[in-house]
Symmetry: C2
Subunit: 121 residues, 2 copies
């Protein structure tokens, strides 16, 4: 854990709005003006590899980053663009619903959903 990684991580914890690498860069710059974009990428990568954060991809848009450690999927509200974390219902295994070949071992699983959320009154 270097100073830079700590700052990047704390920025992510501070505002869990699934920022892009560039968003993170701009936020981190405010409190560590000498940081470089490459470092932000390095940090995000390191944090990802150590399982502290998740990299979230919607189609081919810029990757976004998520500090939620619990297993969950992502729902993008097409009206607002906001990405929501969606948890699984109790004791549900997505792979139970799939016709996976015998012996298949899942190591990574990414589920992204786009749709409309009812307006919040």
């Amino acid at each position: 854990m270097t100073k830079q990684r700590r700052v990047v991580y704390s920025i992510l914890l501070e505002n869990r709005d699934h920022p892009t690498a560039n968003d993170v860069f701009r936020r981190v710059q405010r409190e560590m003006s000498t940081i470089s974009l490459a470092t932000v990428y390095n940090c995000l990568d390191a944090l990802s590899k150590h399982g502290l954060i998740n990299q979230v991809n919607f189609d081919r848009e810029p990757s976004r980053f998520c500090v939620n450690p619990a297993p969950h999927v992502h729902f993008r509200d097409t009206r607002t663009g906001v990405i929501h974390d969606i948890a699984f219902k109790e004791g549900c295994q997505i792979t139970d619903l799939l016709d996976l070949p015998d012996g298949a071992e899942v190591s990574e699983l990414e589920l992204t959903i786009s749709g409309d959320l009812p307006a919040n009154p």
Copy 2:
């Protein structure tokens, strides 16, 4: 449906191995040597928009294209790199497993899985 779109589509039907746009380009060139890469992108986009094919994204790798019209998800065998179509079990709705907010309406859903498949003897 232009000549180019027809060729792109037929190439995809011919070999359902989830090729990238560039793969498609190279294959199409063999029977229509004047086609351009931009056209292949245009065609893939047009076919996608009309629901004839699906664009498949694994993380930030180049997009791949899939002619399987049935609802399914994608499993990449990490050993061979091959992408397999995985169907849902009878009458299964993935969203049933999720804690979606009331009234959420799903318009798109992409599920990608990476893992190991047992070696085929």
